[in-house]
Structures are given as structure tokens and as C-alpha cells.
Symmetry: C2
Subunit: 428 residues, 2 copies
């Protein structure tokens, strides 16, 4: 039962993701009427340089004038795939206020201004969908908002950055060191020329903010998320991880405990039999625990032209269906609570501490005593003699608050037999 | 912004799943107004025996009279958790025709009568949702229908029966034989007293029918699905699987190839590095490949009181939202194509064949010749001498059509040096 109705959309941005969305919508042209009850026509593509040739994109659609889009009442859907805060924020706000539905892949923006934008969508009774902003092609936002809506969720833990997971996989499986693995990631296009946002955990942190807000129905912004990257992970750490039957993964963690939200990103030792431990290479996955569903995990490609376009086009089809049924704005913000975000210093984790110490009787007792004084309980100790006079000591602790651990580490450094604290990695 | 609006629902059935749904809705009472814009009241629970005490369920709601529910215009949602074809089918049809939305967990019914029921829902502009019918708590139907709607899907491969996955995991990890693992599954409540539907692949086959229809937009019913169980898998097969760096899993497979749908269930050798290979114990997972999204996987609990209730309550909340926005029926059948289901004899797979042969020169040549005559190419051969006069021969083939393989096996049995064909297992 094909209808002749055509819905018009504008694309803001035509880079990798924008190009993918354009091509994918073109590929699905025939099926859209069946899937969404209408045809879709891209009637404008906003770009910086209208003279640059873009393969497969009709040049007559290119414009550098957002006003033309904002003021065109025939455009009902704006697809924002430029990235960055401005001008995306202003353009999305204007679009929403002009009664247009918006689909965006912009994690930077949603992680900071999501609440305000969702309020604007609500006021104007339009959709603002952002499935592509977290974990690329993996369905996660809609499952959290709808499929798992019957749950009280307590844990959302993700491998949500493909670059760092690729690097850690190479380090783990091929014994590469960090620099070599990073170079390899750059060669393959997994890492950018300036890889800071990825390797320092900032990109993952933005996704954690969005996941936490969605899962716990309470606004969490990027600034609330503690982030720590993977640059300090060494081959020695990987070696011990294997010995302990663990892997090392950069985890984005969003938890609710005692009416407080914990939100942070850091590398962690993870038991090899945890479902997230099997996520290799540039793949992403998000693990969720809810009181009814127990454990679930969503796995797939977290980035890339077509995986990201898959999420964007899924959202576009949803908007089209909502338009057909007159119910745009049906799934809105969902933040009906206001739960404080716990200061990171109060978060509890287990720690893996690797240190070089003088090899003589009484050293372990001194170190254990110092840790005990700071309320740090030890669950595992491995000591290896390196030379006659020195040893490598690895301690895994029980759960301890971040600030107790920091203070303990400060004091350990001052302890005479401790020559160096080589690594401190949290353990899941 | 809580509203005072109350939506009324009836529960058909109050067994394990029904009890879970009742309790979970009660647990979520406070949040429902925030999540769905209204409160929900269970106003009737249909049971066989109204006098049986059901823990936590208000006895005044119990009724054995479906007519009371069907004729009550204040009831807008019917939640069917009885299972089985009749009377569920008749009751759901009557409910839909009475303008009531229906949420069901009934795979038996949807796998056979799904199309007709969805048509009835469409005609009456109401929702018929069945997320719980496949893989329990794991979000899969909604992701297929919405999140991945931008894709042309080609493969949906699932571990969709927890009982058999538990048994195979025990056989693989603890070297149990089939009978011992089945006993253990019964003890733990994973297997029923009569485990036929699980161990013969029928339960998985129903889920494959639903997954195939949903993914390929074309009706596939249980009768279209070839099913084969795990009762013939032996410790020797498991041993070889390990040697080949594989696991053995009962896979439900739905594929589209050259405008034909393949739908079948059988145990398969699966490479250990495939994401589905890491799914252990009673967990389920569904692996999906689409042209844009590439590979995605959904993992979690495929059965159990609360995981199943999670999926049911997620659907109920969706119906409530649709009612608030006046858009029930928004996501309907989705079967806008009519793609033939390939006869199983024409499906191609790789095969693992284990046989006992006389150990003398020329035997392998004779067997390879016989296979070649039936268009079966060999990719791997392992031969182990068992006694001086006999050997165990394991052959893994390239892709071959089922009927070529069957004919080849018939002829192999007649070959003089072949003493026994011990196992024939497909390989993914």
C-alpha cells in the first residue's frame, strides 16, 4: 500500500557520516514507503564549501545558507551530522523551534546540552533522536528508553571507543607496545592525527554522560564524568592481566548506587569470562544490568560511515512513522528525576598496584600496614624477585574509595623500601 | 508532571511469566506515570482455578471468565501470558477486535498465526507487541523493526534456547555427556520434565520463524523451519570441535540469499572467535548482519520470570505511550514483501563428518572420490588410527547443498571400507 506522500529533509554536514546517510537513504529509496508510509527527499545539504565535489551527492542540493533551510516550511526533518558544539547547537535549536524534527549523531553536543535541546523538542512537540551519538550502529538508546523501560537499571558499562579498544587488543593479543599499536590504529584510520580525545577517554566520557542520563532518567553532563585514558598501560600490566585471567579494557561506567550516580571512564582489569572481555578490535559493546532483565549486552560497530548512518536512518524512519501517526515527540527526554552525581573521590573500586620495592624481610608487612592504615584491604599479592636486591610487588585490593586510595599511594611513595609505583589500574 | 489518568489492563494467565509481570508492574507503580504518562491498573487476571492462592496477587482480581474481560470497555490492554495456541489465539483475536491493545509473550502462537493476528491489530488500529516471544528479556524485535530499519538485513543467527545452550556448555566445559548434562539442566529447572521441545530444536524453530518474518519483512511460519536437535552430539564431537578451535552450539538461522529465505535450526561447529561462541550457560544471543550496520549482537537472558516480564512490561509501557499520543498501531506487521522460503534440501552448509573406517591404503581416496562424485569438496581431513585395522576419519567439507550431502552419505554408508558414520554436524 504505497502512498505518494513525500517528506522533505535537510542534511547539515556532508562529511563521512553525512555522506553515509545520504547514500544509505538513496539505497533504501524504494523500501521507505513500505517502512515509513512515505517517501523521503533530501532537499538541501548544508556544507561550508558548495563548490567542493562530493561523490554521489547531487550538487544542486548543496547550500552554505542555513537560513534557507530554517525558513523552508516544507522541510520537516533536519539531520545534523556536522559534529561539534557550535554552530550545531544553534542550528538544532532553531530547527526545533521552527517545528522541525531533528536527528543527530552529535555526542559532543548531546553530552553537554542534551537536556535543553530535549526541552525545546518537547515544547515544540517534535522529535529529537540521537541513537547514533552513542556506540554508532549499535542500538542502545532506544532499547534503554523503550525495551528496558520496565527495569530499574543499576549498571551501564561500555566499551564505547573503538580506537582505544583496537589499541588495547593489539597490545594484548600481539604484545605490541602502546606507541606501536597507536601507529597501527592511525594507519588503519581508526585513530585521528590528534588522538587525544580517544586515548584520553574524552570521547568515551561524552557517551557515558548520555548513557547515564538515559538509563537513570536524570541529567548527567560531560563535566560530571571523570575521565582517564590508556596511555600509561604498559606491556608489564598486560602480562599480569593475563596471569590473573583478565583483560584490560577502557570502560565507560555509569552506575546508580544509593540514590547517587557514578559516571567515569578509565582502563580496568576485567575478568576474561565477562561478556565485555570478548569485545575485540574496533568493536564496541554496552553491558546493562537491570533489576528485572538481569544482564544484557549490545555489541557491534561503534563508528564508521555506514554503521553510524544505520543508526541515523533508523531514527529518520522513526520520525517519519511518528509524522504519519501524528505523534512526534512521543519519546522525549525521560529525565524525570534529579539524582546527584557522586564526586569521583567517593567512588569505590578495586585497584591493581604494581610497584618496585627493595627485596628484604619486613617490606611486605610495612606496605600492607600502610595500606591498612588507609582502610585499603588486600585481596591478592604477587611478588617476583627481579634482582637480588629488588622485587616487583603486585597488589590487588578490595573495594576502596578513590580518596583513600590516593592518600595511601601518596604515603606509600614516601615509604623507604618503595622504589617506584609503576602502575595503578582499577579492577572491575 | 504526574497525571491522574489510569489505564486498565487484564492479564491472561498467571503462571511464572504472568506472576512476574504482575509483580514487576507493581514494583514500577510509582514510575509509570513518569515513564508512560499514566498509571496502570491490573483489573482482571484470567486463570483456570480462581480458588488457587497466588502469592502477591490480589485474589479479588482472579476470574475464569474471559467474557468479562472482552466485554469490559474500560480495559484497554490485554496481556496474554498463557502460552499455547488455543484458547490464546481466540482470546487475542477477540481482544483486538474489541479495540484492545495486546501484549503477548506467546512464541508458539506468533510463529504460526502472527500474520493474521497482526492484520487484525492493523484493522482495529491497535498495538500487538511481542518482544518477549523471542529471546526473553533481550531487546530484539524492536531493534529489528526500528533501530535497524535502515538496513537490508541478510543474516539473523541466534542461540535462542537456554536449555540446550546450558547442556552444550556443560558438555564442552566439563566434559559431561549429553544425558548427565540434561539431568543437571532438569535439576536446575532449565529443562522441563519432557524436554522434547527444547532438545529437538522446536522451541528455537518457533523463534527463528518470528525472527525471519521480522527481519526480512515476509511471513515465515514454524512449518517453514527445518529443525534438528542436539541429542546426537557426543563427547567425541566436542573433542574434535576443541581441536578445530570451535565450539558446538544449537543455532537458529534465518538468512536471505538471492531473494529466498533460509530458516533452520541445527547444532553447528562455530569458530571460537565468533561472538556467539562466547555465549555460555543458559544465556541467549542473537547475531544480526545488515548491509549498513555490519555485525551486531544482542545478548542476555532468554527466559525466566523477571527477564521475560521485563520484555512484556517494556511493551506495555510502549502501548501506554502510544495511547497517550493517540498512535496505537504505529509499528505494525512490517511484512510488505513475499519472499519464498527455500526448501531445506537446497540450503548450502559446510559439514563435519566423523566416521570409522578400515585402516588400509586407498581408503581415503575411495571416500574422497565418492564425495567428489556428489559435488562435495573437502576442506580438511583428520585421520586417527584407533586399532591396527581401523581408523577414525574426520572430514570437513566446503559448502554443499543438503541433498547432495544426503545422497553422498547414503552412498558412503555402502562403501566397503566404511564401518560406521558416527556423526554429521554442520559447520558455520
Amino acid at each position: 500500500m504505497k502512498t505518494q506522500k513525500t517528506i522533505r529533509a535537510a542534511l547539515l554536514g556532508c562529511g563521512t557520516v553525512g555522506g553515509g546517510v545520504y547514500k544509505l537513504l538513496d539505497r533504501r529509496k524504494e523500501e521507505l514507503a513500505d517502512k515509513a508510509g512515505a517517501s523521503l527527499e533530501i532537499s538541501a545539504v548544508l556544507v561550508h564549501n558548495v563548490n567542493k565535489k562530493r561523490e554521489g551527492v547531487d550538487p544542486s542540493l548543496l547550500t552554505d545558507d542555513f537560513e534557507r533551510i530554517a525558513n523552508d516550511p516544507s522541510i520537516d526533518i533536519v539531520i545534523e551530522v556536522m559534529g561539534g558544539i557550535e554552530p550545531a547547537r544553534t542550528m538544532i535549536l532553531r530547527s526545533l523551534r521552527a517545528g522541525k524534527n531533528v536527528v543527530t549523531a552529535n555526542k559532543d553536543l548531546i553530552a553537554v546540552h542534551g537536556s535543553k535541546l530535549l526541552s525545546a523538542a518537547r515544547e515544540n512537540k517534535v522529535d529529537l533522536l540521537f541513537e547514533a551519538a552513542v556506540a554508532g550502529g549499535i542500538p542502545i538508546i532506544r532499547p534503554l528508553k523503550q525495551c528496558l523501560a520496565g527495569n530499574e537499571l543499576s549498571d551501564v558499562v561500555g566499551i564505547v571507543n573503538g580506537t582505544t579498544n583496537y589499541i588495547l587488543t593489539k597490545m594484548f593479543e600481539e604484545n605490541m607496545d602502546f606507541d606501536a599499536a597507536l601507529e597501527k590504529a592511525k594507519e588503519l584510520g581508526y585513530a585521528e592525527a590528534d588522538p587525544t580525545a580517544d586515548i584520553e577517554g574524552l570521547d568515551a566520557g561524552r557517551k557515558v554522560a548520555i548513557l547515564a542520563s538515559t538509563a537513570f532518567h536524570s541529567p548527567v553532563v560531560f563535566d560530571d564524568v571523570y575521565t582517564e585514558g590508556i596511555t600509561k598501560i604498559s606491556s608489564s600490566d598486560i602480562k599480569y592481566a593475563k596471569e590473573f585471567d583478565c583483560v584490560i579494557k577502557l570502560l565507560g561506567i555509569a552506575r546508580e548506587r544509593q540514590e547517587q550516580i557514578e559516571a567515569y571512564v578509565c582502563p580496568m582489569l576485567l575478568p576474561a569470562d565477562h561478556p565485555l572481555a570478548t569485545v575485540r578490535g574496533s568493536f564496541n559493546a554496552v553491558f546493562v544490568h537491570g533489576d528485572a532483565v538481569d544482564d544484557v549486552m549490545f555489541y557491534g560497530r561503534g563508528a564508521g560511515e555506514f554503521p553510524t548512518a544505520s543508526a541515523v536512518v533508523g531514527d529518520v524512519i522513526d520520525v517519519m512513522r511518528n509524522m504519519e501517526y501524528g505523534c512526534t515527540g512521543r519519546i522525549g527526554c525521560g529525565c524525570y528525576r534529579s539524582v546527584p552525581v557522586k564526586q569521583f573521590r567517593d567512588v569505590k573500586n578495586k585497584f591493581f598496584i604494581r610497584m618496585q620495592v627493595i627485596n628484604r624481610p619486613g617490606v611486605l608487612a610495612a606496605i600492607a600496614g600502610e595500606l591498612g592504615r588507609h582502610k585499603v584491604s588486600i585481596s591478592k599479592v604477587v611478588q617476583k624477585v627481579i634482582t637480588k636486591g629488588s622485587a616487583e610487588l603486585v597488589i590487588v585490593t578490595e573495594d576502596v574509595k578513590e580518596y583513600h586510595m590516593s592518600e595511601a599511594l601518596e604515603d606509600l611513595k614516601e615509604l623507604e623500601p618503595v622504589q617506584e609505583i609503576s602502575s595503578v589500574i582499577r579492577s572491575y
